[in-house]
């Protein structure tokens, strides 16, 4: 928890429920649902990439605030750890599906979101390697 990153950027691309959104200076105020995926920040010629979990995107006054449950810099993504976490989440999901009565929709939603976050980490990592 906490503020992960504060920086000045020329442009930012954020994955939202309506697809990727690119925010440039002078963008209209916007509020959107951020979804698990890759967030890219461009400054001069450098592009920084982060993987974010679900949350909210808020743009106002040329300020972009992305409030998410988790985020990790692509450089720090550890594929082995991600795969382990993903496997664990999938197993939990399967176990939940087995016993139908005890299926808590909120819990399933939570697990699915977790898996999506992990998949996003994997795809981001593989893209940046090539």
């Amino acid at each position: 928890m906490g503020v992960m990153l504060t920086s000045d950027v020329d442009a930012a691309v954020i994955p939202t429920s309506n697809g990727e959104v690119e925010i440039l200076p002078g963008h209209r105020p916007l509020m959107a649902l951020a979804v698990p995926g890759e967030l890219r920040l461009r400054r001069d010629d450098r592009v920084d990439a982060l993987v974010i979990d679900k949350g909210f995107l808020y743009v106002a006054n040329d300020h972009i605030v992305v409030t998410v449950e988790q985020a990790i810099s692509v450089k720090e993504v550890d594929i082995a750890a991600v795969e382990l976490a993903q496997k664990r989440a999938e197993e939990a999901l399967q176990a939940a599906a087995m016993e139908r009565e005890a299926l808590d929709p909120e819990e399933v939603k939570h697990l699915e979101a977790k898996i999506r976050y992990q998949l996003a980490q994997k795809s981001a990592k593989s893209q940046h390697r090539t």
């Binding site: 503020v3 209209r28 105020p29 909210f56 605030v65 409030t67």
Partner: protein, 295 residues
């Protein structure tokens, strides 16, 4: 006058106590640092969510059918009382419970921590549920609490969700604060109050007067946002309470250690005085007997 032996025994006892409180102080101070970090780092997250909710107009809020936003008659207040599991943390619990005594209206209580549960049941108040949370403060531990509260609220067992907790200000200062979490009506007023309680400046929030785009829709955003805000606000409140507990315990143990050390010094002087008195006595007796034989 007490014998030197008696005084020495007391010195040993006091030294032992000092050692124990010193060890407890060390444990509390490491836990305190962690808890304080968590509490202060979590604050911006809650503000950002509050900032987002702040963007919606009262008109928007009226359109939502989610129970969190429904206005209804107040019959039972629901107050979550945050206490500690263990004692030896100074007057923190007592301060919070004093506030609890002053609560008005028809209150149904929920508690976190054994001390809070004991207080509520001893004072004959209506206890609805009691929860437990460990020192690790995982977000997953919050789930049953959030669920219990929102369920009780949705079913109409309680008509508000308020939290009474010791807010962490700094290591030496924690103040009991009552915060209303549900319903999220008249959010603007709540928001102003929260800013004031947290000493946040208005300038830190971005205000843009152009018309805002909401994606995918106002209703969907509000639904997600209200749930997130509800959960994280609860989490933040409990983090604050934990940070307060550890700080309060650290300070209490430090005071105890200091007191024990001061007492031990005093007793040492006493011990020396007793020994010196005994020696003087012996010398006086010796010289007296000398004088006696010389005559």
């Amino acid at each position: 006058m007490k014998g030197a032996k008696e005084v020495k025994r007391r010195i040993r006892a006091v030294a032992n106590t000092a050692q124990i409180t010193w060890a407890m102080q060390l444990v509390a101070s490491t836990k305190m640092q962690k808890a304080q970090n968590l509490a202060t780092r979590g604050r911006p997250y809650c503000f950002r969510l509050a900032e987002l909710l702040h963007c919606f107009s009262e008109e928007d809020l009226k359109k939502v059918h989610h129970p969190f936003f429904k206005k209804r008659e107040l019959v039972h207040r629901g107050i979550l009382l945050a206490g500690t599991d263990r004692g030896l943390c100074g007057s923190m619990n007592a301060n919070v419970f004093r506030e609890a005594d002053a609560m008005e209206g028809n209150v149904r209580w929920m508690t976190v921590g054994k001390k809070a549960t004991q207080y509520v049941s001893r004072s004959g108040k209506e206890l609805l549920a009691s929860f437990h949370i460990s020192d690790r403060m995982d977000f997953s531990e919050l789930k049953p609490i959030a669920k219990g509260l929102s369920q009780a609220y949705t079913e109409g067992i309680i008509d508000t969700v308020e939290v009474l907790f010791p807010k962490f200000i700094n290591t030496l200062l924690q103040t009991p604060i009552l915060r209303r979490i549900l319903p999220m009506r008249e959010f603007q007023a709540e928001f102003e109050a929260m800013l004031q309680q947290e000493h946040v400046r208005r300038e830190d929030f971005q205000v843009d007067l152009r018309e805002m785009i909401f994606e995918p829709s106002v209703l969907e955003l509000l639904e997600e946002l209200s749930l997130a805000f509800f959960q994280y606000q609860l989490y933040q409140v409990l983090l604050e309470a934990k940070a307060s507990e550890q700080s309060s315990r650290m300070v209490a143990m430090k005071t105890a250690t200091d007191n024990a050390e001061a007492l031990s010094k005093e007793l040492n002087l006493e011990c020396n005085r007793v020994r010196q008195a005994a020696i003087t006595n012996e010398i006086v007796e010796l010289s007296m007997s000398n004088v006696g034989t010389e005559e």
